[in-house]
Subunit: 251 residues, 8 copies
């Protein structure tokens, strides 16, 4: 339960708009709600400042729907990632306010009351090539859901170095840069050398055989010659957004 | 050349303390000085805000000494990492102001004028076990050299979960947390769940056979269930410090 | 053939309820029955104390059905694991007493007479996240089939450390704990530190790209900083149940 | 602090043999003593029932000596593993009661008062070949230190299957079997099929090139066709002993 | 072109049954026939003593059919391996004499005149489990096509060591033993210790996650503690048959 | 925009056939056209001398079609690689002049005016086996699109060494040899020893289990005992063609 | 105990040259002698037809000496492999009849009475390059110790294909060919295509970085396009000799 | 024997300066000289146009000296690579004309008569960092020995992108570029995008833990987003030089 919502709950109780049992019912769900196969975390918003994220792979359609229903009922908002098309359709049907993004494979339900978090500036999501777009889109959707302004810079891989060099101003202006790159992922080293702001790199599984599903990009990023570039898991756009949010928030 | 130093140079020129050739000689070294086997980067301080770092492995003792001499001559300061004992002794002898740290395997020569960078707060370096100390010490030395206040929390691995739980206040108080952990590196997931500040994780090569020289810790950290934990290379304390500095600096 | 059944066979013969040829026919199947493509092991129950387990992958539907028919005919009971939906349907049709579990992908046919084995206590199956449920369910089904009381604790991964800490009593009360975890599998280290009973860990193939189909979890568990945690194969819920049974049985 | 010792402490206080400050001094060390680079865990004996284990690699000789001094001062006993020859010599000199085992690379200091733990039976340590002895010896030393009776069966690899078959009675008589094997580690599968007691397997790094420092043995054990064999890290004799102790203790 | 056929060709020419152009046409195909996308090797039978083998994966259905047509036209016989169901159906339709084996995924067209090669004895194909059968069947089909008598011994994995021990006479009687085993493939070490005849081992891709598609079995076999066990590629039943044929032939 | 086309544009403007706005419109697209999800590089032809190549995996059908439309509109020509059947059909329909190659999975649209580049000689594409043909065909199509004469030599793997030895003249006559080989890829070492011209090797993912999707071939080629053999990514026929073009062009 | 020696023992007893206790003492050692840390196998010669082989790595100098003393005392002969220089010196001093080979790192003590085994023909050991010699020499020494005539063919790698082609007669004349090759190990494929006798391949750890200590050669050999080539462990010359002996013996 | 030398030999014979036996003795060494453990290739110069290269690892000091003596005696010249310090000293002493390079670890003995080969232009060797120098130096020494003019460009890694951009003219002017880079090796992608001449990339083993001894750089280069970059083995400077020579020679 987000702090605003908690405050609002107490105020409504003070004004007599809610009965004691109604308040208790809301609070009883904290800190997490055990629904048998999952413990729905209603305090995520409180602890981390953004809605709970439901990672769909390995969960059945019914499990996902049930978890989302509980989160929605608590008014916390939610973000479902890596949702298969049928899951996206089902959640869209069950939550009319939800925003579906087919490229990112996400369903985002904003919280009942908008999150307002003070941040340093914009998160800039940069891609090396068009094939990296689904991961970048996931990062962008998640970063927005977590309260960050988001900007984009696409298809600026280093084989045509003029593409990224012509965007130096854009890069320097960001509070955090997320670099999404497959193949050898050289873009992060060039960007890391051009800017002194934090750079979070996401290797993608894009590439010919010896990319080994993103291993080449992952190792490339971990060995970046630009000091201070940090790395998240392969294709993990959401993770990069979470890291960017930790960095971008003013406490 | 650091901005302060550049300003100071111009002021001394204005006051007639330096001749035009003397100013030119200082500026001529920019942006990098080609000494045959290396291009000494005198603008690193300008671009990144901290002294040039000399990574010693693969360089001969003479090459390291030569590069350091050029950096010292420019008054920029320098940090030599992964320096073998004989290199540490040589640099200590040639640069009496240098600070040698045997555990961290570093030699640090502060710049002629102290760096003063506005930062968010302290960088907290946390270790899972005593065997992770050399990497943690490299991170701490580097973070201090880059202008961050540094605090430490050692030997709080999760097998005794009370050790880390009893330090929640310390963790929450940091601007950035660097978690240094070998074996399965579970500590980062627990810390990442306890705090909402940025967490930079360094896998170490500590462990029995199937740690495969840090691969287990590396994969563990990349797959951390705590969202937003970012990772640098195995045993790369310096890289973690550089990342923390990008995050911690106020621009 | 289970000991009880053997004793029962001889008693029925003693009482004249069975003829010599009938007894011989039953006994003739021991120690294993060669059906061409397989040797059906009718002494598994005798040797190990629980029904034969049929691992379905790589076997044709007809082969599985034939093996199960032989085992059922001997009254030993059987457990089919990793059964595809059509195999589950076929076995359910051919063995009306069989219990099908779609999440676990198992078909369990209890032996003609119930197994009664003296055990230390309950086997507690713990999962880090909802996506680990299929493997945990396989472990639970198998552990029950092998004569253990089974309890469950789901979705208590360490990113929200309060979830597992609030269940310390439940953990301490188990005779054996099976920890089922994907991603970095840090849960086993925390659980291993909290309890002194045996902990059997099952890595799962749940996770983003660099989990490499469970390799990250496997390495994480092998390198657990909690001493005495043992590991079975990736996604091998059945193997964990077999290990727990070896531990839990009183001889 | 072990329970017996705690009880003894209180009794001595009751009898007037200890002053209040003396008692407090003893208790103040709990739950762990922060000595800067390490948190010495004086409650390990209380929580796990056996002395603290000091894993030496990655720690300096001085650090090891300091940690051991603190543990010895508290009367808890200690076991140092993977100790280099010079560390073994130093600890032997500083702790005259300590037992040094050069093959196992261990130093064992028994606690001030002997541990008496009720156990199921003997731990049987089995090796495939003579080259596996150092790991087996570490397991045996550790298992004894943790209060288990230990028996040995050496050089019974499956290439001469008669060697292990002739020891069936010995195997069947154990409460827990630890199988230590390098190369393809087939021994664990044969032993696992012969007995129904718990089998903990330790892969060793013994073998020709494609053993890849124990990877072959590790994978072999994880894929054992004998159900319920569990695995610990490569060459981790101590870990196997800790697992056997969890299994063997009667609570 | 097989020697017998060559001799027959010349005899028919001698008897006037063939014209010079007809003989030339037959011989012209040697040593290989270039059909654009492939060089059909009509001398394989001459060089190696058995029909050409067509490995189907990566070839289109039309390419396979064309190659087989050429081989059949030359009367050499052929063996198609890893043939998909539709390829098997097509080849069966186009070559009525062909023998299709669905389990082995092979189509075998015997040569116009039977091969008669002097051999040492029988090739014995042994499997550890039922899931290894497809690979074993490929080995058996290929070994027969190459002129070896073939015997079988199935499902004798070492978890029930009595299964293989009870077949010692059968093992000792073979001229060559092919061991087909997945998981940890321990069977080859036991068999290699029981017999002194050549043992060719085939790892299979059968197993849970950490079998890594047969890597565990492959490494296990390469590290077999039974000296003189040799290994072929994962799931390569045909390769094992070819190796057995080299060994079994009397020259 | 290719140099010829640029010259033609200016000449047409000189002759009054184009207005200033028309010229500007053409030039405005340079150096790349930002279409949101991609930066279409109209200067590739200028910089590299051959049409832009669109790597299809990871791009949606609509994205591919849009990028191709822009490139076609500029008259530059294009080569789409790894195009799925439906993408090939769509591009064929939208670009009637395009040449579709189903084996190579390519769609090639020649530039408005033919490229004429001076080259050293012919590029010879050699395959080890029929299963390597798709990759070889991609290399051949790409090499032709880049202005090279191309010759072919198929199915000359070293198991029948006479096949490659009988083509020595053909090999020696090439300006560049591209060797396409899977399995152990030994062909490149033999070819590299036979000729002194440049050899570019492409490992393919053809082979039994332990080829690990081309890893075996890749490592084999990198370790070729014939000095000066260079390697591109697994199955990367296009990359080999690009390398051959760099080598073959006369500047 | 070798059969000849057993017969001789009984004959000497028959002739009254040995007392009953003396015969019993000799026989009592069978089937293996338990010397604490090892079970010395005195029946190896009986079962396998050649002396026991002592693999030295991981064994202490004293253990090796003790095992060898027992074997020598029984008159069986022995072969110590991978012996360090000091072990070679010690064994040479303790067994004056022993033959030391520094290149092969072996010590061979012939049995008291020479082994005479009927074999098919000569074992031919072939190397690709001079750096492969130590492994080849181990294979040659071991093959001779096992009763095979041995011939050599060195430095015939395929980069100069004429080197191996000029030795076709030598190759064709062997009963078994052992190919020892590092780097990409292409030699085995060429040899396997040239001859129809059994080919046993030994990958060596010779090569630049991406040979990964012999992994490249190992994978290359497993994927050999010449059917029927079998493989042993990296650098395992002894294993190849044992395999060749299994093949070469006439039973 | 190099062509010039052969011609010279015949001319001297024609002029009566050499007797028939003297000519025969010279020619008899062709095509290779069998010196027991090696076949010294006196025709390498004839076939490849440059001196034989002796790769030292795995060869004894005596073997290396013997091979070099034979090559020197034939007047062919030689290049010894990866020579240990003592080998370098020995060869320098035995061949006073030899040029020793300690950084490159090479000994180069020029042929009796200088090689004069027509080439396209200069080979430019580029390094990312100072730690890459030993490999780059090996490449430079070898390229010169093979008759290429060589230029150098050092320490231009992409973290400071201005370093490489300021050298575009130098890059564009080369006939072949050899890029030597460790860590993530991003430099090759940037260089490959800047120039259209052939780029041969050498990964080096320089880097922190997750470089895995050059694997990260190797994968990075194989996945380079700049089309047509080719790759040789890790740290294989000599191989890159050989490839550059194949490309640079005019035939």
């Amino acid at each position: 339960m987000r702090p605003e919502r908690l405050k609002n709950l107490l105020e409504r109780f003070q004004r007599g708009e809610l009965s004691i049992p109604e308040v208790l019912d809301q609070l009883a769900r904290a800190p997490f709600e055990d629904i048998g196969f999952a413990r729905v975390d209603h305090h995520r918003a409180l602890r981390q400042g953004y809605p709970e994220v439901v990672y769909c792979p390995g969960k059945s359609s019914d499990q996902i729907a049930e978890i989302c229903a509980r989160l929605a009922a608590a008014g916390d908002g939610l973000l479902a990632t890596r949702a298969e098309p049928e899951v996206r359709r089902r959640l869209a049907a069950e939550h009319p306010r939800a925003e579906v993004n087919d490229l990112a494979r996400t369903v985002y339900l904003p919280p009942a009351e908008p999150i307002e978090i003070a941040v340093r500036g914009a998160v800039l999501v940069v891609t090396a090539g068009t094939s990296d777009l689904p991961v970048a889109e996931e990062a962008a959707v998640a970063a927005r859901a977590m309260g960050n302004p988001v900007r984009r810079l696409d298809d600026v891989g280093v084989a045509g170095i003029h593409r990224v060099l012509s965007e130096r101003a854009e890069l320097a202006d960001a509070a955090v840069v997320i670099v999404v790159a497959g193949m050898e992922a050289a873009l992060a080293s060039v960007v890391g050398g051009l800017v002194s702001v934090p750079v979070v790199a996401v290797p993608t599984s894009v590439g010919y055989g010896a990319s080994f599903s993103g291993l080449a990009a992952l190792l490339g990023l971990l060995n970046s010659c630009a000091p201070g570039v940090t790395v998240v898991n392969i294709d993990n756009g959401y993770g990069a957004a979470a890291a960017a949010t930790r960095i971008n928030r003013l406490t």
